[in-house]
Amino acid sequence: MRPLPLAMALALIASPALSTTIEVTIDKLVFSPASIQAKVGDTIEWTNNDILAHTATVKGGWDVMIPPKSKGKVMLKAAGAVDYFCRFHPNMKGHIEVAP
């Protein structure tokens, strides 16, 4: 069986879906899932279950405040891989692969 060309495979995955919202949970200073795959136009929404305020921050990029027991979100505008962290607790780390 011939493997599908990559572009076609991506098109098959991406074509039926409009922009979606991807949920990330924060619990005891951990982003979960820590690594996610998204595409330009998708929204990431963090739900913070901690009693502490957190941020999702990309160095030189976006910075989202996520208050305690609350939510924060960002719409992904650029393709590429980004690492993000919490400015208040830099040991909290996450990763997003953004497809065009």
Partner: protein, 174 residues
Amino acid sequence: MFMRPTATLAALFFVSTVPLALAAEKPTDPQIAHIAYTADAIDIEAAKLAIKKSKNREVVDFAKDMERDHEAVNKQALDLVKKLKVTPEDNDTSKALAKAAKEERAKLAKLKGAAFDKAYIDNEVAYHKQVNGALETLLIPSASNAELKSLLETGLKIFQGHEQHAEHVAGMLK
């Protein structure tokens, strides 16, 4: 493997790194609760001093983060001890922590401007490192109640985050 001549040296090393010159015995849960609460309260006091004295935005923001986080943690700690019907019990470690903190605050109170900022942040790095060491090697392993242990484990992650945050601010002051 411990029969090598370095064993004595290693033993000395372990003794000298026991944090905070803690008492030889394992602390009880009421003592651990008191130590953890004291450690938090100390950092809140230091933060209040920095918010009042510093003119550096990064330093003031950091201090506000410390005040907010440690107050939230202490509120959770108080809720837990109430639920567990544990009365926090003063002890030599809490006393040693409080005494050292009082001396540090007196030292900081005399400083101004950039000298204050540097001393405050350097102390925050050292203080969080010291408390993390105590949590990891003594308080968490000694805690017998599972909920207290879990709170301390989360506390360790918060403090490790603060240590990195403080190191970042220290790097910017240079």
